[in-house]
């Protein structure tokens, strides 16, 4: 029997602490949409996505009403387009991005991920075409997200791809400069990209995934912060216990929604992604949650330790609540999407180097960080290389989503609106790494990749 206290506690989580399901993401395999011509392939893609995901948004809304749970996004992830398009022989994959955009619009979802390539060990011809197409594809579409996996613990780091992505990010910024380089907010460079991630912009459906699958991403930094407010001054054992309990409850909500969506849509349930995902709303910030540990401002000494412990305790609580946990599963620290991170970056307490250190102990990486427009492609590649090394050598996912905003410099900020938020332009180390980046080739896989 449920008691009133539990009911009221639950109501407060939804009303005051911003608990929500961040996303129900339907993964759709497009393997069977490969065709000898672009037109034929695009037709198959459109028809298949609309057939599978036509009821996704409606179903999400029904579940939301049944349980009184806000479900913020309904999204779609697809097989990396570099694989699907490889048979058509085209020299530009922008039409594929456009058809994804059209399908997303028809289905009513707000993002579709999978304009992607997996190049950790090297390029196929199709991967090259896809990567070259990214700037135009992102400029020509509204809902499409792109990602490129350039490194993995098993394969090492593809430094040719790291070099090329620096250039592609610059070109994407230029192609979308009218909107503050918004294209770069939809482009992620990965190490160890998960194949079942429901979160954008990095979602795609990996080659090992089923025909169609429902993955759910939870949220809830506000709930954990509220729980910590009740244990001020207590020792870390108490803090860990408190986070675990809150994470358990949050994850159970995710599991409930995922199971019900799976049943209603007759699509198998894949995973719950246990990520604390912030939004720019006050009270929904990971930075403020870290400050609740006892830090004056996020970014000061102690931040990495607090984040490590938070991330670990969330997983320990969440893993008990669902047997199928996957995706990124770690606290997100996107700067522009987190009110506390924005404040810490503006005050100078949070710097790029500290963010890099923080990514050693959480997912996902240097995320939604605006840098000066005159940052060189080589410097961007250098930042990517460091972040990829963190992921590759620590056997974890890391990512880079940098936004070099044309015409802006340190002290300015760029406004994306909505959940993408506002990004203060952050300073970067200007010493050159160009000779390092132009070496090319691959950084070999670390010794601990050899587990067999």
């Amino acid at each position: 029997m449920i008691n009133d206290r539990e009911i009221i506690e639950t109501m407060q989580m939804f009303n005051d602490q911003h608990l929500d399901i961040r996303t129900i993401t339907m993964g759709i395999s497009l393997m069977d949409c490969a065709a000898p011509t672009v037109e034929e392939s695009c037709n198959r893609i459109y028809d298949k996505i609309c057939k599978y995901a036509g009821k996704l948004v409606e179903t999400g809304e029904l579940i939301s009403k049944k349980y009184g749970i806000p479900i913020i996004h309904k999204r779609i992830s697809v097989t990396p387009i570099s694989i699907v398009a490889s048979a058509c022989g085209a020299k530009d994959y922008t039409p594929f991005a456009q058809v994804l955009d059209k399908a997303a619009r028809t289905c009513g979802v707000n993002f579709i991920g999978g304009f992607s390539a997996l190049v950790q060990k090297g390029y196929t011809n199709s991967d090259k075409v896809l990567i070259e197409s990214i700037p135009d594809a992102l400029a020509a579409t509204e809902f499409v997200c792109s990602s490129v996996n350039v490194a993995s613990t098993r394969s090492g780091i593809n430094m040719d791809a790291v070099r090329d992505m620096g250039v592609i990010i610059k070109k994407t910024a230029e192609a979308t400069k009218e909107s503050g380089a918004l294209g770069c907010a939809k482009l992620v460079v990965f190490a160890n990209a998960p194949e079942d991630n429901p979160f954008m912009a990095g979602a795609f459906l990996g080659p090992g995934e089923p025909e169609c699958v429902i993955n759910v991403g939870i949220s809830g930094p506000g709930v954990v912060k509220h729980a910590l407010e009740g244990v001020k001054g207590k020792d870390f054992g108490t803090v860990a216990e408190t986070i675990k309990k809150a994470a358990f409850k949050i994850t159970r909500v995710g599991e409930l929604v995922a199971r019900e969506a799976s049943e209603r849509l007759r699509v198998p349930f894949g995973i719950i992604d246990l990520s604390l995902a912030p939004t720019p709303a006050v009270g929904d910030s990971v930075a403020r949650l870290l400050e609740e540990f006892g830090l004056e401002t996020c970014g000061t000494w102690g931040t990495t330790a607090a984040l490590a412990m938070l991330n670990d305790a969330v997983k320990k609580g969440g893993i008990m609540a669902s047997s199928y946990v996957g995706g990124l599963s770690g606290a997100f620290i996107p700067v522009s999407e987190d009110e506390g991170m924005i404040a810490a970056a503006r005050s100078g307490s949070l710097k790029l180097e500290k963010l890099e250190a923080m990514t050693c102990v959480c997912s996902v990486g240097l995320d939604m960080i605006a840098v000066p427009g005159d940052t060189t492609a080589e410097t961007i590649s250098g930042i990517i290389a460091d972040e990829m090394a963190v992921g590759t050598f620590n056997n974890k996912t890391t990512a880079v989503r940098l936004i070099p905003v044309p015409g802006k410099t340190v002290g300015d900020s760029v406004e994306f609106g909505g959940l993408l938020g506002t990004a203060p332009i952050m300073d970067v180390n200007r010493a050159s790494c160009a000779d390092f980046i132009h070496r090319g080739g691959r950084i070999p896989a670390p010794i601990h990749s050899m587990r067999n």
Partner: protein
Amino acid sequence: MNQEKNTAVVTVLGRDRVGIIADVSRLLADYGINIKDISQTILDDIFTMVMMVDLKDVVIEESDISEKLGELGKKLGVQITIQHTGLFNAMHTI
């Protein structure tokens, strides 16, 4: 999802006034929703009413009930929500 009975929790949060229970129960009765249990308390100075209801004989779409209750809540100046009990069982029981 159908393992649990088709029951839901209706919560009313806000300032107390005459006739809240009457208005809410009339709306529920109109749609064939039976009230199994009802309790009210003042929590952090907020009037809180919790009703357990049975949706077995409900005569409208479940998703429409929350809208109807939301509209009534606006009229009365309180927040009224309905949530399937599956949510509370998932979150608070192992």
